[in-house]
């Protein structure tokens, strides 16, 4: 038996930070110290705390080392494993209270989390089916195979599980439709086409616990009467695909997949279809078209896939996180699952927490926790002591939640009421330095590019909205633009054929709703309050502060700065391209270069005229 187990995170994030090199060095160091047979190395899935990677945990003590590099491994082995001395510098230091924590459960980032869907991520070796079984894996499938299909459907219905991919449709109801559809052949499809910028919930689940998704698919197959499943996963996720292939091979060898599963007369096989990365293929009908080898574009519904799906057969499509929750329901019962969460949203939700918070990474929280708890407790608050401005939830389809709604409970219905949506789980926190108009423009630039172009409201509408937003951020905004933006947004929402177009205006609508003053500052005063929109900024040098060090002059790429050494410098505004290089190099103690957005006098006159109704068309 091993005396110690060392878990090294082998999620994509930690691998890119050097986890594989850390492992190689550890193997060598253990050999040098005669510890090879006493210490087991486990390359686990994602621990969630990606910004602190590579994560390196020593069990059974649960010592959490973070940011470990190959050159640190020798010290860990010699000092900790051999002599028992803690390597303090590699422990986690809380940036908020400066405390040092030894084990991971002491860290605030993990404290308020409830890892259900991620139960095995960062705990097991995802390429070892035995470990999955020890953790209770495939018990849910066994239970499902002992039940009638309709009983399985009813169990999932009773649990209150709703789809984690975006819209939150009740999973049990979807299964009921597919179960009652007539067909000589049915399919289960796992939607792993995760496309929101910055989102990596599904990738981490597939990389860290692929068997949970396979088990969920088998149970879905039992519930609807399907004997074949597809996992549609983007080819940008090579590690997830590799681990899925390994897991499928093991599950077939162990009799959990294939003919006569567990000797109970159920047949189910799973295939992988690699997608090329189009965002629209996350839409279920586009995804099905792509699996069929056609161009990945949505089609009109009805008929819904549960009635007429893959190759015209009844098909049940569920998201990765949804499927990872299913084995828990069949193992522990619907009641236990439903005991967590709120009235209308049961269970937990995984979020990719990113942006201007101290702790970024993958977090899983019970439905009903507030945005404040996620941002300030788990996320550790805003970086550099700056002020929270908004949380952008749900990716390009979601919306921005302002400070006054920080105590909003995170569940499907509350977020929709606030104008946002759960989406697949992207949660981007922005501070006072982020311009909300520019943020809306960014998301529109994404949806505009990803629109399949099939329906006019989405294809033309998102482009028009983007052009207006670009005008506003570049100082060409007109007073009537705000009304036009709103009209366009509602027309696109109502007229678009699929979810992409129907939700694309959300970032614009929520920023207009909660941050209208920022739009007005851009349009009427040609001013960006967050000092983010380049075209509306002016760089100036304060002659009283400038020490004439010439750093800015040397750095300026267009030679817009003049001035003799040890004398105050000046920026020629006609030449300045507003690249900010002078601001970056100006010594922090001096701060002579200043960035301003004071607006144009004629714009203020225009606003006043607009308010009087003499010039403004709106």
């Amino acid at each position: 038996m091993y005396e110690r187990h060392i878990l090294i995170c082998a999620g994509t994030g930690c691998i890119s930070s050097g986890a594989l090199e850390v492992k190689e060095t550890l193997v060598d160091e253990l050999e040098k110290h005669g510890l090879t047979n006493k210490v087991r190395i486990i390359m686990s899935g994602c621990h969630g705390f990606c910004e602190k990677g590579p994560i390196f945990i020593v069990y059974p003590e649960d010592v959490f080392y973070c940011g470990v590099q190959p050159e640190d491994v020798k010290e860990i082995v010699e000092e900790y494993l051999v002599k028992g001395n803690m390597v303090e510098r590699l422990l986690y230091h809380d940036p908020v209270n400066d405390e040092t924590h030894v084990s991971h459960d002491q860290i605030m980032f993990y404290h308020k989390q409830l890892r259900q869907a991620l139960r095995n991520c960062g705990v097991i070796d995802p390429e070892n089916i035995d470990e999955y079984i020890i953790r209770g894996g495939y018990k849910g499938l066994k239970n499902a195979l002992k039940m009638e299909p309709v009983e399985v459907v009813n169990e999932v219905k009773s649990s209150g599980l709703r789809g984690r991919g975006g819209a939150g449709f009740p999973t049990g109801m979807k299964w009921q439709f597919a179960n009652s559809s007539k067909g000589d052949k049915k399919y289960v499809v796992c939607n792993a086409d995760e496309g929101d910028p910055g989102a990596f919930m599904d990738r981490s689940l597939l990389e860290g616990d692929p068997h949970a998704v396979l088990e969920g698919m088998c149970i879905a197959g039992r519930a609807i009467g399907a004997d074949e499943g597809y996992i549609y996963v983007r080819s940008e996720y090579p590690l997830a695909i590799k681990r899925l292939r390994t897991a499928i091979g093991q599950a077939e060898e162990y009799g959990m997949l294939g003919e006569n599963v567990l000797g109970l007369g159920f047949n189910f096989k799973i295939k992988i279809k690699e997608g090329a990365g189009a965002f629209v293929c996350g839409e279920e009908t586009a995804l099905l078209a792509s699996i069929e080898g056609k161009r990945g574009v949505p089609r009109h519904r009805p008929p819904f896939p549960a009635v007429e799906g893959l190759w015209g057969k009844p098909t049940c499509i569920n998201n990765v996180e949804t499927l990872a929750n299913v084995p828990l329901i069949l193992r522990h019962g619907a009641e236990k699952f439903a005991s967590i969460g709120t009235e209308g949203s049961k269970g937990t939700k995984v979020f990719a927490l990113t942006g201007k918070v101290n702790n970024t990474g993958l977090v899983e929280v019970p439905m009903g926790v507030t945005i404040r708890e996620v941002v300030f407790d788990i996320g550790g608050g805003i970086r550099e002591g700056k002020k929270f401005k908004a949380a952008q939830i749900g990716g390009p389809s979601g919306g921005c939640i302002p400070e006054e709604h920080l105590d909003l409970p995170i569940d499907f219905d509350s977020l929709t009421t606030a104008g946002a949506m759960m989406g697949s789980g992207g949660l981007v926190v922005v501070d006072e330095d982020t311009c909300m108009v520019d943020m809306a423009r960014y998301f529109l630039s994404f949806t505009k590019k990803e629109s399949c172009g099939q329906c006019a409201p989405c294809r033309l509408g998102t482009t028009q909205m983007y052009n207006i937003l670009e005008d506003i951020t570049e100082g060409r905004g007109k007073p009537e633009d705000l009304k036009l933006l709103e009209e366009l947004a509602w027309a696109i929402k109502k007229g678009s054929m699929c979810g992409l177009g129907q939700t694309a205006p959300n970032p614009v609508l929520t920023t207009l709703r909660y941050f209208r003053h920022e739009y007005e500052a851009h349009v009427y005063e040609k001013r960006c309050p967050a000092l983010a929109c380049k075209a509306l900024l002016q760089y100036q040098i304060d002659p009283d502060k400038c020490i004439g060090c010439q750093r800015c002059k040397k750095e300026c790429p267009v030679e817009a700065i003049s001035g003799e050494k040890k004398e105050a410098h000046e920026i020629n505004q006609d030449l300045c391209i507003k690249c900010g290089a002078c601001y970056e190099v100006c010594p922090k103690k001096v701060r002579a270069v200043q960035v301003l957005s004071e607006g144009l006098p004629e714009s203020i006159e225009e606003k006043e005229a607009c308010e009087e109704g003499s010039k403004c068309q709106s």
Binding site: I133, I134, G255, L262
Partner: protein, 59 residues
């Protein structure tokens, strides 16, 4: 017996072609079709090998 799929002794018949209904339960609490301390110990060794913390098996 290195993995759960390996047979603990000649009494185990589980295979891909002839799967045992009780395989999942047998991995952790087996053997269920016969009594043998040795076969039980073989399974426990697999569990112990991978269990890096007391909570590993609990779900």
């Amino acid at each position: 017996m290195k993995h759960f799929i390996d047979h603990c002794c000649e009494k185990c018949f589980n295979s891909k072609e002839n799967p045992c209904e009780q395989f999942v339960e047998c991995c952790l609490d087996g053997p269920l079709c016969h009594e043998s301390e040795e076969c039980k110990e073989a399974r426990q060794q697999i569990v112990d090998r991978y269990s890096h913390s007391p909570l590993f098996r609990e779900q």
